[in-house]
């Protein structure tokens, strides 16, 4: 009997240890990746990285300034088109969405959320690059909007649903029109949550590379217009990383450090937004 009890206790100890170990193994890569990003990215992390155009291989210095501007342009365009559409669709689903049509829309949103981002690149290409016969910021923005919109529709719907029915009823009882109640009471109450969703979706699209490969294409110089090929940080990181040159590898790490800095700043901002509200 004694040995059975011992064996049971031992099994308990061992499995406990294994569970703890698995948690350790899961977060270990995070530390390794950040360590390498800081260690290798710091070498090229100079002020000129943020202000200069890329230099040809072998020539020291040079930056990713055009990529920073390009990434912000593309993401800005995608959001300018995506926010009104996604928020309005979210309002529809939360406030009116009960029928078959609403289920179809929800299904579409779920489907779009799961679509691999490279396929959104094909979407931008077929929709824009093929007919216009040129790579452009517009095409890239269309691809990113396809990733951005479903995320924001979902978070907007969820956030609006957290607004208590009593708030709506109170407004309606005061004789305020329903559309005004929705827009100025319900949406207003949920604003912080909706903005958080928008920021998280923005953090997501800023780091996307695959949809840009054959829409934005990349550009060594400053963008000359939104209907032209445009640089983006993720594309620069990718092209530098797969190049055979050591000094370009350093630039890839530095670019990656800038990119992760932007992504973390935006998602950190999103967290801050929700916290302030509480």
């Amino acid at each position: 009997m004694e040995s059975i009890a011992f064996r049971r206790r031992a099994a308990d100890r061992v499995t406990r240890g294994l569970f703890a170990l698995s948690a350790f193994v899961v977060i270990l890569p995070l530390f390794l990746i950040f360590f390498d990003l800081l260690w290798k990215g710091a070498r090229e992390l100079k002020w000129t990285l943020l202000t200069d155009l890329p230099h040809p291989v072998g020539e020291p210095g040079g930056g990713i300034a055009n990529g920073i501007l390009g990434t912000l342009s593309i993401a800005g365009l995608a959001m300018a088109g995506g926010i009104p559409m996604a928020v309005m669709a979210g309002i529809y689903l939360a406030e009116y969405g009960r029928g078959k049509f609403a289920s179809a829309v929800r299904f579409a949103v779920d489907t779009l959320t799961g679509v691999p981002s490279i396929i959104m690149g094909i979407f931008g290409y077929v929709l824009w690059v093929l007919p216009m016969k040129r790579f452009s910021a517009w095409a890239a923005a269309a691809s990113l909007a396809m990733i951005f919109i479903p995320i924001v529709v979902r978070t907007t719907e969820e956030m609006l649903k957290t607004v208590p029915a009593s708030v709506r009823e109170a407004a309606l009882a005061l004789g305020i029109e329903r559309w005004k109640t929705t827009l100025f009471i319900t949406v207003r109450t949920a604003t912080a949550g909706i903005v958080t969703g928008i920021l998280l979706a923005m953090a997501r699209i800023i780091g996307e590379t695959a949809p840009l490969l054959f829409t934005a294409l990349g550009n060594q110089f400053w963008q000359s217009g939104l209907d032209q090929p445009i640089a983006a940080i993720p594309l620069q990181v990718f092209n530098y990383a797969i190049s055979p040159y050591d000094d370009w590898h350093d630039k890839a790490w530095a670019g990656a450090l800038v990119l992760i800095g932007m992504v973390l700043a935006i998602s950190g901002g999103a967290r801050y937004f929700t916290r302030v509200r509480k």
Partner: protein, 307 residues
């Protein structure tokens, strides 16, 4: 009451238009994929899915090497990710002291925020060399007689892609697993403990019986993620359109071939074949996500009934 005020009707209609817009975008995406695939579908038919040749010069295209690479790399990823993610979920939910729970789950979630291209960069310069020198070379040397581990070892390989993918999908499997574990009724867990069971026995009995379908759902969800992952895989899988049994050999995936060859695709048929691969990828991930959602919804419904 509703619908009496014309402004209210107008506002509802206005939001409905945008909701319809989202629906339209999903349909448009599918329609465009199909339209552009038509030349390749006409030319190759169903044989496209089981043909091994990928010859852009002769315009002879088959997707099998890419489908194979996508499935195998994703399978390797699941093999690594599922035990680790479920183990961590159990650790966080059942064993971790209160002060440790939030930091650990926060750090795991942070993994999901890292852009794919950064995983790829890290994969090329850190993970691949480490795997090559510490794991693949010795393994190929001593276990090379097993076809699965046959050399020569280059570095970029199916295994490297699988390992990198596993790191990327763990956060998703982990968070869904935690939700699944949280559906176990507290009373059932306490019942086992009060009968003198150890924590491990409690987990094995209650969670084992209760959570297997949910964890399976989480796994399929992770699979959906892994199948479509592009940049990280492209950067470490080796990009060779051939089928090798050994996981130390390079391979290719559906997303990777689209990423690499789309801008080079000169002929109409070449482009169409690439879009068709995109269409197949779309359908596979669609089915995986649908299945995951179905499994998890039944699971939640059952938990709601207290079973």
């Amino acid at each position: 009451m509703r619908g009496d005020n014309p402004k209210d009707v107008l506002f509802e209609k206005a939001t409905a238009v945008f909701a319809f817009g989202v629906l339209f975008l999903a349909v448009l995406l599918f329609a465009l994929l199909v339209r552009e695939s038509v030349p390749a579908i006409r030319k190759f038919g169903a044989a496209f899915l089981v043909t091994k040749t990928w010859d852009p010069v002769a315009e002879n295209f088959g997707a099998l090497p890419f489908i194979y690479g996508t499935l195998v790399s994703s399978f390797i990823a699941l093999l690594i990710a599922v035990p680790l993610a479920v183990g961590s979920a159990i650790f966080i939910n059942e064993f971790a002291p209160e002060w440790l729970k939030n930091p650990v789950s926060f750090l795991a979630e942070l993994l999901a925020a890292i852009p794919s291209v950064i995983y790829g960069l890290w994969g090329i310069f850190v993970l691949v060399p480490v795997l090559r020198d510490l794991l693949m070379k010795p393994a190929a040397h001593y276990l090379g007689w097993i076809p699965l581990f046959k050399g020569p070892v280059y570095g970029p390989s199916m295994l490297a892609a699988g390992v990198l993918l596993s790191i990327m999908i763990i956060p998703f499997i982990l968070s869904v697993s935690r939700e699944v574990l949280a559906t176990v009724p507290r009373l059932q867990k306490e019942a086992v403990l009060s009968l003198g069971g150890t924590h491990w026995e409690m987990i094995r009995i209650v969670i084992g019986q209760h959570c297997i379908p949910g964890i399976f759902g989480a796994t399929v969800l992770g699979l959906g993620r892994a199948l479509g992952e592009t940049m990280a895989v492209t950067m470490v899988i080796g990009n060779r359109p051939e089928i090798f049994f050994s996981i130390f050999q390079p391979g290719y995936s559906m997303a990777a071939v689209i990423a690499n060859e789309f801008t080079e695709a000169t002929g109409q048929l070449y482009l169409s074949a690439l879009v068709e691969i995109g269409l197949v990828l779309f359908l596979i991930t669609f089915v995986a996500n649908l299945a995951a959602k179905g499994i998890l919804n039944t699971m939640v419904a059952r938990a709601g009934r207290g079973l």
